[in-house]
């Protein structure tokens, strides 16, 4: 097959490209330049697609003897991922930009272009298993990235290859070292690639400006503090609330209301929710029959919990957790899994959380 390897300059995508070559595919490497103003050198484990990263990727491609190109997708990335990220926060929601990037950039912009150019598939260094077109968790639970791929459709998965899903991250580094790749010991990248200093609140405040408003205690209805912008908060957040509630009990963000700029906080007993509503789902395979029982994960690094998924008004879903969940923020994706200890939990699909549901039904916050 003619396959296009997306090469970030990191160890995972380098090994993924190498394995695709080993498998006998006709491989071409591309580095995606996503940042509007690329740094010459990378700084630590933060940021991405600096010129140095593209050179690291090119170095590996040259060793593999495969053609290598840089595709400039900075405009699209800015529009579809960065601007979307800012708009979501401005609307009181908590987006996952990596999921959005996979959805809009890697498996739409890049995949479409690759297919147009005559490639049969795109190979990436994601830690997830692809069994035919069944998407499953990586064997390395700690590195599993199936969550951020949960938004892919059957058509996209049919043209994807994830050669690393069956091995641990340690094994990936070993393979890279065996092959003499300079990136074998390169640190993993963390955080959000377009916020290289890791200061999300600072990034948002530069983009959105100061938008002060009250912090209100849910139990008393009284204002207990002030904030500089609702975008500095995420449902479930406990630290950095800057409030004086009077007692010693920790408070959690329960809700964010962007129009009145109100952040509602409450004690732990109020922070759990029994169910959430979502927008329209996407499925990785044939749409399952509703209702169904599954596991659901609501954060990239969250633990999966048992749930029941029912149809809701307007094409959305009602997701009822077996145990109350804390910190389920609107905007996050609920990714559904069918547990399978042998072959890896299978990703069924995802839907974006729109609202939490009160214990006695009725939407709150």
């Amino acid at each position: 097959m003619r396959v296009l390897a997306a090469m970030s300059g990191g160890v995972d995508s380098a090994v993924a490209a190498a394995l695709a070559v080993d498998a006998g595919h006709d491989v071409t490497g591309v580095h995606l330049a996503l940042s509007q103003n690329r740094q010459t050198l990378r700084s630590g484990s933060r940021g991405c697609c600096s010129v140095e990263d593209s050179h690291d990727a090119r170095r590996v491609a040259d060793e593999l003897g495969i053609p290598f190109y840089v595709w400039d997708l900075a405009d699209r990335f800015t529009e579809d991922v960065v601007d979307d990220f800012v708009a979501e926060y401005a609307a009181g929601r908590t987006p996952n930009p990596c999921l959005r990037c996979n959805e809009k950039i890697k498996f739409t912009a890049v995949l479409d272009r690759a297919l147009g150019l005559g490639f049969d598939a795109v190979v990436t260094g994601h830690h997830a298993r692809l069994d035919g077109t069944e998407l499953r968790r990586s064997v390395d639970a700690a590195k599993d990235q199936s969550y951020v791929l949960g938004v892919l459709t059957p058509e996209q998965l049919a043209a994807a290859m994830f050669p690393l899903g069956g091995m641990t991250k340690d094994r990936v580094r070993e393979i890279a070292a065996e092959r003499g790749f300079g990136v074998a010991a390169k640190p993993d990248s963390h955080d959000i690639c377009f916020i290289p200093d890791g200061d999300t609140r600072g990034f948002l405040s530069r983009r959105l400006g100061s938008q002060p408003g009250p912090v209100v205690d849910a139990a008393t209805g009284r204002q207990v503090g002030e904030h500089d912008g609702t975008y500095g908060f995420t449902v479930g957040q406990r630290r950095g609330l800057g409030i004086a509630a009077g007692d010693q009990r920790p408070r959690y963000v329960l809700g964010i209301e962007p129009v009145t700029r109100t952040v509602t906080v409450g004690t732990a007993d109020l922070a759990g929710v029994p169910a959430v509503r979502t927008g329209a789902p996407t499925w990785t395979g044939r749409a399952p029959q509703l209702p169904f029982a599954a596991q659901v994960q609501v954060r990239a690094h969250g633990a999966p919990v048992a749930c029941r998924v029912r149809p809701d008004d307007g094409g959305g879903l009602l997701v009822e957790f077996a145990d109350q969940q804390r910190g389920v923020a609107p905007g996050q994706s609920a990714v559904f899994y069918e547990p399978d200890p042998d072959r890896g939990d299978r990703v069924l699909g995802q839907a974006a959380v729109t609202a939490a549901v009160e214990r006695e039904a009725g939407v709150r916050r």
């Binding site: 003619r2 071409t28 330049a33 690329r38 090119r58 400039d72 405009d75 699209r76």
Partner: protein, 410 residues
Amino acid sequence: MTVTGPTSASEENRVSYLDHAATTPVLPEVLAAMTEQLGRVGNASSLHASGRAARRAAEQSRERLAEAVGARPSEVLFTGGGTESDNLAVKGLFWARRQADSRRRRIVVSPAEHHAVLDSVEWLAKHDGAEITWLPVESTGRVLPHALAEALGDGEDVALASVMWANNEIGTVSDIPALAAVAREVGVPLHTDAVQAVGQVPVDFEASGVDALTMTGHKLGGPMGAGVLLLRRDAECTPLLHGGGQERDVRSGTLDVAAIVGLAVATVAAVGSREERAARLAGLRDRLVEGVVEQVPDAQLNGAPLGDRVDGGPGRLPGNAHLSFPGAEGDALLMLLDARGIECSTGSACSAGVARPSHVLLATGADADRARSSLRFSLGHTSTGADVDAVLDVIAPVVERARRAGLGRR
């Protein structure tokens, strides 16, 4: 050139190298002369027999090269390549001329220059008080004498002017002798980047009247990292590199004798066979352009028309075919051709691999889409009719595919 070698995507092993403007294959006689020289010990500055032998080889090369390009041996300064020669000319002439008269801060330059000139000029403007006057260029990319005259004015505040002899992207040749006459009229030194011109069009340093001229080895069958600045004996030029005082005290550093020998052999060969080769390449090039346009009727030739003439010579480099394919991305075309064993270029300098619309095409008034959709095929001494056939065999489907692919744009 038809060579065998690994190609990634195509089943066949034939590669058509059509990127001679990027670099040329080394001539066999150059390889032989350099290999021989590399086997000999000797620093050309040493006084003993080995040193004398090295110096003799270097000086003989200087004389032969000078003769081939109409310069005096003392006007030949060996450098580390075209980029260094351009930097030395622009910065060195600027500094020396301003030193002599502090009013001379203006640099008159064409916006279609190579980045070695452009970025030197811009660096001087940013860090050293230079003022830039951009010359207007024709839609072919050519600078006309009256435009230079107008930009120079009385020349009193001008440090230097720089206009390339032939453009590396679109191949347009300017009438350098006419421009030099204009500059001379007002006492302003003219530098010309002739990296792409030597061996392609007639270049005679003395007769041209320019004060400084850049050449490089690897565009005419010689080694990389070896270049020349031809500098008139009366031109003051402040050095960039200080040290042992080699090369008229303008460019210190132990002479790379093997490279110098190779550079001279290449220059003599390229200039000596120029007429015959130019005619042959122009024939192949014309067939390439006409064939492409026949298959892709909306393809547009950039630069001067094929039969254009200037100063009694070709107005377009004989091996240059620079075309835009509306609706297709240059880098998609490049990739598809590469996968089919055809090596060419989008022509524009890229910043860290990210394709930017060519500053040359933008300077000629082309819009960004036309600039982005362009490809440069450049033929040279190893090119054959089979290379042209190879392009014509695949160009139509490649353009069609690239058009369908469109780069992540809506």
